[in-house]
């Protein structure tokens, strides 16, 4: 038998030598190369998407950290601001921002004359569109704080309007303003001349990072500071609640729980909760915390509670994994020298598992920080991030927004100037997430132990 097969062996049947490939081998090798190429293409597509995403965030968002300002010396006319001349603070307060706007516009006209700029815009009113609506309020606040300065000429650095700002950043062009009633082509020409003269200049926009949300008509003064504070208070609630509860639940399930129906039920619940869509947690928050318990709407406290429930499964799963990775010999040794079960867990297992638990918690917090959908349902949208909370306690219960909810808010507004803010907000959010993740990775690197 063997002889027979040997006599018409493979090499003879295919009629070639071992070194030359036959058709079938070539086809198989081509299929092999193709298959490998699919894999490489898939990886490259994935990485390509990542690069596009990051580039588009940076390209669109960096602008939000720059802001155009108008440097102008305003003469604080006593005849307009304090008719009685008594410098009575109550009288000064009676002059509204409408009384201040002409002063600033006149000051800009003077700049035109001083820099001998040639422009068809001759009236003070024509200057209005160059300035932000909040510029007059800024001057008014200054005067109310320093009533003695009335009658003097003071240097101000005022916000330029969002159109001027967009023009200097390349977002607004002469074509795009053709039928824009908020700015004209002549005003853009003047902007160019002012920029050359140094009256209008761009500089770092601290107000975006520390400021509060502004109304629909003033994208140039909208900032993310207050919603950052909202996020901070929420994360505080999440940390304070989810870390102890998550660790306690994991310890019970991993170390103490007997194998029975009840613990099975808990385990199934936890794994299912981890897969429940986040918006369902928002519905829970709305129905349970706001409708049923009447907790305040839009409050970071409620947001924190909802996010806690959402983060708990993540924290429990990672905590259990790190408890599991502590070898049983540690427990046995503790029990062997007379420790109780509880002592062996709290004195020996838990400290050894702590780095893993902290890493899991930080990653869970990062997830919660970026979550938006449940916050929309409990009312953390709208112009609510316009004021700083009065105190720490009111920081938890006063209506506020959160970074992602604020970004959503900006993304849904009509003025494209807000889009730049939204991208900028994303940069802020990603910086936080990146920092948290790096801390988690460093923690793991430094303390991870292989048993």
């Amino acid at each position: 038998m063997t002889d027979a097969t040997f006599s018409d062996g493979g090499a003879k049947a295919q009629g070639g030598s071992l070194t030359a490939q036959d058709d079938r081998t070539r086809r198989r090798n081509r299929a092999e190369t193709r298959f490998k190429a699919y894999g490489i293409a898939a990886i490259c597509t994935g990485l390509f998407f990542l690069v596009v995403l990051v580039t588009s965030i940076l390209y669109n968002g960096v602008g939000a950290f720059q802001q155009s300002f108008v440097n102008v010396s305003v003469y604080l006319d006593p005849a307009k601001l304090d008719k009685n001349g008594a410098r009575n603070i109550e009288d000064i307060k009676k002059v509204s921002t409408f009384g201040y706007a002409p002063l600033i516009q006149n000051a800009l006209l003077e700049e035109v004359a001083k820099n001998s700029i040639d422009t068809p815009l001759e009236k003070a009113k024509d200057m209005k569109n160059l300035l932000s609506a909040s510029a007059a309020a800024e001057v008014r606040d200054y005067v109310i704080a320093n009533p003695d300065m009335i009658g003097e000429t003071v240097d101000f650095r005022l916000l330029a309007s969002s159109r001027v700002d967009g023009y200097l950043k390349g977002r607004v062009s002469r074509e795009s303003v053709a039928d824009d009633k908020n700015i004209s082509v002549e005003q853009l020409d003047l902007t160019d001349q002012f920029r050359d003269a140094g009256v209008i200049s761009k500089s770092f926009n601290m107000a975006f990072i520390t400021g509060s949300d502004a109304s629909e008509s003033r994208p140039e003064s909208a900032g993310i500071g207050v919603s950052m504070l909202g996020s901070f208070f929420m994360m505080l609630v999440v940390l304070v609640l989810s870390l102890p509860i998550g660790v306690a639940a994991s310890i019970y399930l991993e170390e103490f729980a007997p194998k029975n129906r009840f613990t099975d039920l808990i385990e199934v619940n936890i794994s299912n909760l981890a897969a429940v869509p986040s918006i369902v947690f928002g519905i829970l928050g709305l129905a349970a915390f706001i409708q049923f318990m009447h907790l305040p709407q839009s409050a970071p406290l409620v947001g924190g509670l909802v996010l806690t429930l959402m983060t708990l499964p993540t924290i429990i799963i990672s905590t259990r994994a790190s408890l599991k990775s502590v070898p049983p010999s540690i427990r046995d040794a503790a029990l062997g020298v007379g420790a109780s079960k509880m002592q062996s867990v709290f004195h020996h297992v838990l400290p050894l598992a702590m780095p893993g638990i902290l890493t899991g918690t930080i990653i869970g917090l990062a997830q919660a920080l970026g979550e938006t959908a449940p916050l929309l349902l409990i009312g953390m949208v709208g112009y609510i991030a316009t004021n700083y909370p009065d105190s720490v306690a009111s920081g938890f219960v006063d209506p506020n927004s959160a970074i992602p909810a604020q970004i959503y808010q900006w993304a849904t507004r009509a003025d494209p100037a807000f889009y730049e803010r939204a991208w900028g907000g994303i940069i802020v959010l990603l910086v936080f997430l990146l920092t948290m993740n790096i801390i988690a990775i460093l923690l793991r690197r430094k303390f991870e132990r292989r048993w």
Binding site: N29, A31, E32, F35, K36, Y38, G39, A42, G46, L47, F49, L50, V52, L53, S56, N60, I245, G246, A248, A249, L253, F256, T263, L265, N269, N272, L273, A275, V276, P277, S278, I279, V280, I283, L284, L286, A287, A288, F292, H294, L312, I316, M342, G370, E371, T372, A373, L376, L377, G379, V381, N387, I407, Y408, A411, A422, I426, L429, L430, L433
Partner: protein
């Protein structure tokens, strides 16, 4: 007394208890540690926990129950004929709450005194100005019954707060005293403390069950409310979704489900091939160096918040697609927000989800099977296609189902990227909307929670919950049932 102070006082009491209980135990044992049943610290912990835990429990339950009780009492006392015609009781009650909170705030800031606040009249001093002054502007003038109710609200809440303080501190002191008096050298402090801690651990673990219960109850009750005022048959069978807050809405879920599934299918069509091939390449072909670099980079995509993807869809992908398929190009796309936009971006989001799950599953296929296949002369790709993938198939199907459940439950991408029009269309470049997007839009307006237009969101949430839960359970079932047992 504010809740924060109660917590601080209870904590202080607990600390005091710890430092009093410890020496007391030692003293009863004659200063000799060997005479004690437990180590001295346990006696301290016993006193501390006995005063802190029950007090905090009372505080928590009180806080949960009080506002509920106060609200329902005030609502029950509210004269039914005083409810304005165009409003409902729940709207008026939220007004009452706002007035009460505003007056409280005014008193706290010292704008008016407590006695003045109690004597506020509708006619005399203008309450609206007062509230605007402390940053709680009202939409309309306060009517007499609302003010009366607000005063009743304040009175009840302040009585409640006083009682709360008494109850919490009373319980804390009782626990303190009880545990302190029990402290002596024969008292089994360690056992008591350990069983107490164990109870706390069990309670923490039960929170997961409570959360599920809360989700199910809040969905079920509101869904039942909804079906009382809107026929269930219409909801499930009607093909139009046209809510109008004036009444006469048509609330058929079909267009929303269609949008949801269409977007999910596109997302999976993007994510599954890319994710699966990445996983295959990373686990079978890539050198350790490439793997160490590419795997975390792809997983970065999973760590990016969905709002970022939403903005990316709205402002980058949408306009890009319009420039190709819009009126200047192919001419089948009207606006940047469309099924394709949302589907593509969601697909990008799901790539790491599919790839890392499949990666784990492929890695779990034992090396012996690969070696066997290679030994028979198969090439690497033949081994993968004919040996590894069939072995890993149940796991991969499970991963795809999990990804599908993610796609169906995803909110921010569709809210920003898919548009708001509910329609049944086959064109992937049309704007459509999904279940999640409509939950957001129905619940973020100023709608009254008793109207069908708001309650429908709970029925939608229920549908979503059932579908995603079903997919997850199915995924687990497939993995368990068809998993190859290698050992």
């Amino acid at each position: 007394m504010p809740a924060l102070w109660l917590v601080v006082i209870a904590l202080a009491l607990a600390t005091l208890g710890f430092f009093l209980g410890r020496p007391r135990a030692l003293a009863t044992g004659g200063g000799d540690i060997r005479a004690l049943h437990s180590r001295p610290a346990y006696y301290g912990w016993n006193v501390a926990l006995s005063s802190l835990v029950p007090a905090m429990g009372v505080l928590l339950i009180w806080m949960l129950v009080q506002s509920f009780v106060v609200n329902s009492t005030v609502a029950a006392d509210f004269p039914a004929q005083a409810v304005p015609e165009d409003q409902t009781l729940s709207l008026v009650m939220s007004d009452v709450g706002r007035v009460a909170a505003g007056i409280d705030l005014a008193v706290r800031r010292g704008v008016i005194s407590e006695t003045d606040a109690q004597n506020l009249q509708v006619g005399g001093s203008n309450i609206r100005d007062l509230l605007a002054q402390v940053g709680k502007p009202l939409a309309s003038d306060v009517i007499e019954p609302v003010l009366t109710a607000a005063q009743e609200y304040r009175a009840l809440a302040s009585t409640g707060n006083t009682l709360r303080g008494v109850a919490v501190l009373g319980v804390a002191l009782l626990g303190f005293g009880f545990a302190f008096l029990r402290t002596n050298s024969t008292f089994r402090a360690r056992n008591v403390v350990e069983s107490g801690i164990r109870t706390l651990l069990v309670l923490a673990a039960c929170l997961a069950v409570l959360t599920t219960l809360g989700i199910v109850l809040s969905l079920v009750f509101n869904t039942i409310e909804f079906f009382k005022i809107y026929p269930a048959s219409e909801f499930f069978l009607s093909l139009t979704w046209a809510p109008s807050f004036g009444g006469g809405s048509e609330l058929g879920i079909a267009p929303l489900l269609w949008g949801t599934f269409y977007i999910s299918i596109i997302a999976l069509a993007v994510a599954v091939p890319i994710g699966l091939f990445s996983a295959i390449y990373l686990s079978e072909y890539a050198t350790p160096k490439v793997r160490a670099l590419a795997k975390p980079l792809i997983e970065v995509l999973a760590g990016i918040p969905t709002i970022v993807y939403g903005l990316f869809a709205l402002l980058t992908v949408g306009p890009l697609l319009v420039s190709v398929f819009g009126d200047d190009g192919v001419g089948i796309m009207q606006a940047g927000t469309a099924v394709m936009t949302a589907g593509l971006v969601m697909g990008i989001m799901l790539i790491p989800f599919v790839s890392s799950l499949s990666d784990d599953i492929i890695n779990a296929v034992p090396q012996a099977m690969r070696d066997g296949s290679f030994g028979l002369g198969a090439t690497k790709s033949e081994t993968i296609r004919q040996v590894i993938l069939p072995a890993a198939l149940p796991g991969i199907v499970g991963a795809i189902l999990l990804a599908a459940s993610r796609a169906i439950g995803e909110t921010m991408i569709v809210v920003l990227g898919a548009g708001a029009a509910a329609r049944l269309s086959l064109n992937p470049f049309d704007a459509m909307t999904t279940v999640t997007a409509k939950i957001v839009s129905q619940l973020t307006g100023d709608a009254d929670f008793a109207s069908p237009e708001a309650l429908v969101a709970f029925a939608l949430g229920m549908t979503l919950f059932v579908i995603t839960l079903g997919l997850n359970v199915l995924a687990l079932y497939i993995v368990r049932k068809y998993r190859e047992q290698y050992e």
